[in-house]
């Protein structure tokens, strides 16, 4: 990663051409999408932030309470536990997922040329989250699960994947790795395709080893794509909900009570929508900070290809 920052080469055509003003047409094209964006994202966002300053139980009118929800949040041990649990999940999920996806992408590029094999890799992604979680819930069931049967045959003994505090988060994180790695691999694979072949030829001529080529050419040139993939998958990872809701519902005790589950339980089990909204704002802030740093560190907006 040695791109001099001064060399900001955005592709600009030398002579400014006189172009037709497309603004109206562009606005027309983005109009349908904007309706959805405003109605289902911006408006709920604004309303959610407003709700976080209120006490509201759905049935009676919302009452303005100022910063009370935030004060309560800062001293709520379950909130801080949820932040830790979520971070733990994200770290396990993203590190394994990205490593596995990178490996799969390289294999796809170098070995698996057949479209059939390449599309099979995407298959887990086509399974819905809830179905994937349910299937693994059965496979990994302590008593009946085939996964545990196999472990017993192997002499390793049964593992309480969803019923012990130490296994709950790693198990859930790995289920989601299984589901998402194919998709992530596909994104990285697209990035790999964009690296010019002549660089590899040059490396070969120079007698560089496979490892050297990977760290000297592939990885640096893949950086913008990897950065983008990381930003997208980290945001998705922070929002983990369905897998937890289906398998452990936050338990055992609080071991897998991730932020989204805690938000949901406050809102829809206890009807404390004000507090749930405040928790959601906290998640928003965490995501903004994480994304900002990721963007800066990976310099995802720039490429070294020029």
């Amino acid at each position: 990663m040695t791109a001099p920052t001064a060399e900001r080469t955005t592709r600009r055509s030398g002579v400014p051409r006189k172009r037709r003003d497309d603004t109206r047409l562009a606005l027309l094209f983005i109009f349908p999408a904007t309706i959805g964006l405003v109605a289902f994202y911006f408006w709920p966002l604004v309303r959610g932030i407003w709700l976080s300053f209120t006490s509201w139980d759905l049935l009676s009118a919302a009452e303005f309470v100022g910063l009370q929800n935030y004060e309560r949040m800062l001293v709520d041990p379950i909130f801080w536990n949820a932040v830790q649990v979520t971070l733990y999940y994200v770290v396990v999920n993203i590190s394994v997922q990205t490593a596995a996806a990178l490996l799969i992408a390289l294999l796809m590029q170098r070995l698996a040329q057949s479209t059939m094999v390449r599309s099979l890799i995407l298959a887990p992604y086509l399974v819905s989250n809830v179905v994937a979680a349910l299937v693994f819930l059965w496979i990994l069931d302590f008593q009946l699960g085939i996964g545990n049967q196999v472990l017993e045959w192997l002499g390793l003994g049964r593992v309480g994947f969803f019923t012990t505090e130490e296994w709950a988060i790693p198990t859930i994180a790995l289920i989601n790795v299984w589901r998402h790695m194919g998709y992530t691999a596909l994104l990285i694979f697209a990035g790999l395709q964009a690296i010019p072949g002549n660089l590899y030829e040059a490396a070969k001529v120079d007698g560089a080893s496979e490892t050297r080529t990977f760290f000297g050419i592939t990885l640096p040139l893949l950086r913008p794509i990897l950065g983008l993939v990381l930003i997208i998958s980290v945001i998705g990872s922070f929002q983990v909900f369905d897998t937890v809701s289906v398998t452990t519902d936050g338990g055992p005790v609080n071991a897998s009570r991730v932020l989204q589950v805690y938000i949901y339980q406050n809102a829809f089990a206890q009807f404390d929508f004000g507090y749930a909204a405040a928790l959601s704002v906290a998640l928003l802030i965490i995501l903004m900070i994480v994304t900002f740093f990721q963007y800066r560190i990976t310099r995802a907006g720039q490429t070294d290809l020029n």
């Binding site: 008593q143 012990t164 005790v253 829809f268 089990a269």
Partner: protein, 456 residues
């Protein structure tokens, strides 16, 4: 009848449950609502959560419509979990049912939010006479203002289910299960029974030398989870027999007694069964175990469960079901949680007077005898209870282990207080910790103050 604890079984039953619900929904669409309604009639929407009871209430609705051709009752059934979120969402959207099956753990919050109509404000239900129902059932539906917010439907108590074959293998007879005693110090004859029924992987029983509590094949007592804040089928029948009660008063108390030494001792004994090898550990059964499945699979010998489960246990394949009464405790008497469902009328109903006519019918001998004959639950009116008893007896089931408790007043009321949902969120993780063994019962002092602080 079903408590929150019953819903706990749902996750493990996931797929079967979905299939059942779908089948029920399909059946409903087939026979019930929609275009079949008579023109000019008023539609009354009625919701319930128990699919097993759907056929009975469909019969009730048909009988009611025959008497009242101007009303068309449309029944909808949702599983326990969806039921409450859908109900709340429908209140917000003002598209909820006119009448719905209500639970005592939920209705206080509805009363506080003013979404229920007091029954006495409507003509058909103006006078609900508590004496017409089994004792205490009408009272649990009376709000702090004295208004009646639910028409008693049915009641439930807890008993011990077992498979006759496991008893034979242990060399025990039915007589050994009569007049059991229990106390939190040495567990009494009940603990001796559990020890006898527990078998480890080497075939050694829990009361024999060389028993290995870490390698158990058949547990003496099936697990229903940690029980949350009410322990309906898990520990309420134990702690109730010490004379302990949940609150400072029968209904609408504003203090919980989770810091009482009797409660703490009982929890210590109950969750201590895990170390003794008589109760499956949390790590094996998870947070939402289903006791009937453990008896059905032969991994547990005895299960404490609610009267609403009679049909389920009786239907277990290869199980010759037996029922016995819960043990008598330090108070000298047995005890069971006593709870009942009710039918409530939504304040948003457009036809509250017609809704009240339906509720009146639901609470009448006519409907409750129909429900009783189905043999699913014990209806709240004595005539309905009688009909249920007859149905059970005709099937060769002796339900007196459940009904005696009510007749002899050996009951502990389900806690009826405000803040049910928040109390659950406080108590559930702590009770799970006690079950897992990562926390000691002394934590209950702090937790109890946290719960009681909600009422300040």
């Amino acid at each position: 009848m079903t408590g929150p604890s019953r819903s706990a079984g749902r996750r493990r039953r996931g797929l079967a449950g979905v299939a059942l619900a779908t089948a029920a929904a399909a059946g409903l669409a087939g026979c019930g609502g929609g275009p079949a309604s008579t023109p000019g009639s008023t539609a009354i929407d009625y919701w319930l959560w128990d699919s097993v009871q759907l056929p009975g209430y469909t019969k009730c609705a048909n009988a009611f419509e025959a008497e009242n051709p101007d009303i068309d009752v449309r029944i909808t059934q949702y599983g326990w979990d969806d039921y409450w979120s859908k109900l709340t969402a429908s209140f917000v959207a003002e598209s909820g049912p006119d009448v719905f099956t209500n639970h005592v753990s939920k209705y206080p919050e509805f009363v506080q939010r003013g979404v229920l109509l007091p029954l006495e404000s409507l003509e058909a239900t103006a006078s609900v006479d508590p004496a017409e129902f089994q004792p205490g059932l009408a009272e649990i539906w009376q709000g702090p203002d004295g208004s009646q917010y639910g028409m008693p439907k049915d009641f439930d108590t807890v008993g011990l289910f077992y498979d006759q074959a496991t008893l034979d293998e242990a060399g025990l007879a039915q007589a050994d299960l009569q007049d059991l005693t229990w106390n939190p110090d040495d567990g009494g004859t009940f603990e001796e029974l559990l020890a006898r029924l527990t078998v480890d992987a080497n075939g050694i029983r829990g009361d024999e030398p060389g028993f290995d509590p870490d390698n158990v094949e058949v547990y003496g007592l099936a697990s229903g989870g940690s029980g949350g804040y009410n322990g309906q089928t898990q520990w309420s029948w134990l702690v109730g027999s010490t004379g302990w009660t949940f609150n400072n008063q029968d209904t609408w108390g504003n203090e919980y007694n989770f810091d009482d030494p009797r409660f703490k001792d009982t929890m210590e004994w109950y969750f201590g069964l895990v170390d003794k090898g008589f109760l499956p550990p949390f790590g094996i059964v998870g947070a939402n175990p289903n006791a009937s499945q453990q008896v059905g699979a032969g991994t547990a010998a005895l299960a404490a469960d609610g009267s609403w489960m009679i049909r389920v246990y009786n239907g277990l394949e290869g199980v010759d079901m037996g029922i016995t009464k819960v043990p008598a405790g330090p108070s000298g008497k047995p005890s069971s949680m006593y709870n009942g469902l009710g039918d409530s009328i939504s304040a948003q109903s457009e036809n509250p007077e017609d809704a009240a006519r339906w509720v009146h019918f639901l609470g009448s001998d006519k409907c409750q005898v129909i429900i009783g004959k189905e043999g699913t639950v014990f209806p709240a009116r004595p005539a309905g209870t009688e009909a249920a008893m007859e149905t059970f007896e005709a099937q060769g089931i002796d339900p007196t282990a459940f009904t005696d408790l009510v007749e002899n007043d050996n009951t502990l009321l389900f806690p009826v207080t405000d803040h049910g949902a928040t109390i659950t969120s406080i108590m559930q993780p702590v009770m799970d910790e006690l079950y897992i063994g990562t926390e000691d019962v002394s934590v209950l002092d702090e937790i109890n103050s946290k719960v009681n602080a909600l009422f300040e």
